[in-house]
């Protein structure tokens, strides 16, 4: 039986495709109409076609368990998430504004530190930051850009407002799945691409290459670019290899590179040592260079930091960029935008309580059952407390943790994450989702048209991580006027 949007009920949440009265939103009309033209069986056939395409295209992610790592097929929902272009243009401007301010902040932190002197942000934030790298002081990377690739997580609240939840400035991943999802959708729903005007996403690898080329120390047409991966056992290895292939770059591991006495980086090839101009590193600061950071790292390249500091190699993201990827620093991004750019922030932050401030801490401790508490420096949803879903005991434990190390905790109100129709066993049902657009900054700044939509496949769940039962959707920016 085909879906009747009048009986589809997303309440009390904001649905990305369907209004509370059961009408498709204007940008989603073609898609919603197309879906109503299919009965359950036809939907299942399209789902099978998608599953088959994913297997055939070899889209996988790696789960490491019991010493054997397994490639799993990428979990994908065939129903795209639709965003009108008019709304997206504002989001795009907001993301550009945000990353520009963040890069000015990182550059300031490692150089003049004006923002602390002017008391916009307390200096103590820096002293307690886990990702501040003393080794980066006094360095001026090309174009003043440190974080070249940023994946910001956006969520929509019950009233329809899009908020920035966090900015991933270290080694954000997921963009390859954004590209592959589009390939799959084109195979499954070619009819809708004919009737609706959907912005393409394929430009990303070219833009990434151009951005990387723009930070090459040897200005020339064909810089040698290498993607530095921790190796096959890393969960994002598929993406590392995918991006290297799409850019025509070399996929290298630490042992492939060597820093010579001239401070240049070389890769070991069958023709001898070949100079590398730019490294897109998918390896954390700590493991990058045993000479400068963690001496036990087996993954890194001794001398890499020296090569970068002396301007002999371009590196994205620059070491030390993580200083702005911190949930305490996050709370100050709106202030940064006003301070460096003299503009009002276009995209709002989720209101954030900093436990390091006594007043905030008091409020957080009194309202634990309403709040989400996060450690300042973790990513991937580790070590979080979701107040409304937690037990009394868990809340008491977190109260202790906060009192012990207030700098390491921030709290935010629980948002009513938006939903979108998702194909489940019982047909189309609302499921919660978020969105990770990717922003590239070099000489110029580019934003992906949409990004990676992650969806919690389990009913009522807010967990979108693929390792924990999350899936993903293609994201359509639809031009309603075209």
């Amino acid at each position: 039986m085909p879906i009747d949007w009048k009986t589809y009920d997303a309440a009390p949440f904001y649905d990305e495709l369907i209004t509370p009265s059961g009408e498709p939103r204007p940008a989603a009309r073609q898609l919603a109409d197309y879906l109503t033209s299919l009965d359950d069986n036809e939907l299942q056939i399209r789902k099978q076609a998608a599953d088959h395409a994913i297997l055939e295209m070899g889209i996988s992610f790696t789960v490491y368990s019991e010493g054997e790592n397994i490639d799993r097929a990428w979990p994908f929902d065939i129903v795209p998430r639709v965003i009108p272009r008019s709304e997206w243009q504002a989001v795009e401007a907001g993301l550009v504004q945000r990353l520009t301010a963040l890069n000015l902040f990182i550059d300031d932190v490692y150089n003049e530190q004006r923002i602390f002197r002017d008391k916009i942000i307390p200096k103590s934030v820096l002293n307690q930051s886990k990702n501040f790298r003393e080794q980066c002081r006094g360095i001026h990377p090309p174009h003043g850009v440190w974080a070249h690739i940023c994946g910001s997580d956006l969520v929509r609240d019950g009233d329809g407002t899009l908020y920035v939840l966090e900015d991933n400035l270290r080694v954000p991943s997921g963009v390859s799945y954004m590209l592959e999802n589009r390939q799959v959708t084109k195979r499954v729903f070619p009819e809708v691409f004919e009737s609706a005007s959907i912005l393409p996403v394929d430009e990303y690898p070219t833009q990434l290459f151009d951005m990387l080329a723009s930070i090459s120390p040897r200005p020339q047409d064909y810089p040698v670019i290498a993607v530095l991966t921790p190796g096959i056992f890393n969960s994002a290895y598929f993406e590392h290899s995918f991006l290297a292939q799409r850019m025509g770059a070399q996929l290298v591991e630490g042992s492939d590179l060597v820093v010579d006495a001239d401070d240049c980086v070389y890769m070991r090839t069958i023709a001898g040592l070949e100079r590398v101009d730019v490294i897109y590193r998918r390896i954390d600061d700590d493991f990058m260079d045993p000479e400068a950071f963690n001496p036990d790292s087996m993954l890194g390249v001794p001398g890499l930091m020296r090569a970068w500091r002396n301007g002999k190699v371009g590196m994205a993201n620059a070491p030390g960029s993580g200083v702005a990827d911190d949930k305490v620093v996050y709370a100050y991004v709106p202030a940064m935008i006003r301070y460096y750019l003299d503009q009002e922030p276009i995209l709002p932050n989720v209101p954030t309580y900093l436990c390091v401030n006594e007043k905030d801490r008091q409020y957080v401790l009194e309202h634990l059952e309403d709040l989400v508490v996060k450690p300042a420096n973790e990513s991937g949803g580790y070590g979080m407390l979701v107040g409304p879903h937690a037990t009394k005991k868990q809340r008491a434990e977190f109260a202790q943790l906060i009192k012990k190390d207030p700098r390491n905790y921030v709290a935010q109100p629980t948002l009513a994450l938006s939903v979108a129709p998702t194909l489940c066993d019982g047909g189309l049902e609302p499921r919660h989702l978020d969105l990770r657009p990717f922003v590239l900054q070099g000489v110029r700044t580019d934003v992906t048209a949409g990004g990676l939509t992650r969806v919690a496949m389990r009913k009522g769940s807010l967990v979108v991580n693929s390792s924990q039962g999350g899936g993903s959707k293609d994201t359509w920016i639809v031009d309603e006027e075209a």
Partner: protein, 312 residues
Amino acid sequence: MLSRVAERVYWLARYVERAENTARMVMSFHLVSLDMPKTVQLSWKGLVAVTGTDPIFDEHYQREDERNCVKFLLADHYNPSSVFSSLKSARENIRTTRDLVPSEAWEIINELYLFTRDNLDSGIGKRGRYEFLAEVVQRCQTLTGLLAGCMSHDSAYDFVRLGRNLERADMTSRQIDVGAIRFLKKGADPDPYDGLLWTSILRSQSGFQMYRQHVKRRINGVDVVRFLLQDTPFPRTVAHGLHNVQDALEPLPRNEVPLRLVMQARRHALNADVDQLIADDRLHDFIDSLQLDIAEIHTAILETWFRIDKAA
């Protein structure tokens, strides 16, 4: 191309070729053992010895019987050259070079590895042995064909050919050694089972028909050794293998040292006077020296392309 990647495809090809040849050797020995009368004892341990792994065997086994030897050659994980270990290593090498080879290649190796792992018992027992070994050989051949037909013949493929042909030349020389040991043991009496043994050695390399077409005389040790060592058209001989190694080396950068060594080894193999070697009881020593040549080529490949420290 990156040295690390070149090294991995080289080892991938070597391990697959080693698995195939080990399976072939066990197969031919298995078949000839069924033909031999009860009174003639075949030395399975001799077969282990030609693979050069007998010291490891001795660490793990007291009895040198058929079952232990076959288990050691096919299944044992502590034998790095067993069919199972070779395929496991091949699988690890292809896992990390999946971008370079056609995706079907990974599937073939992965499935072959799983097949081998799950059917080792049939290979060890007499009843299922033939089917098991035939399956392994056939799937290895499928991979070789796939790479020849569907992979760009660029530097990566040159390293595949290097690995495959060097390993094949080495394994064929070891097969000759199986026969060479018999020459040594034999006294003045002609051995009535000689023909059977040499036939089985030829068959193990799928060379029986080709030998028949080219040599035309009845099967005899001297001619078989000459064929497996020096025949150029048949692709599983030592001379042919070394010829292919030379061919794969030609387009590679900085190839002087390995190229010189392989040309030496080819001359060494082609100029050998097989009659004289057998008459003087020096065949085994000659094979040993040939294997040293091959080891030297391997070391030169390693040092030229896989251990890069200096700028070009």
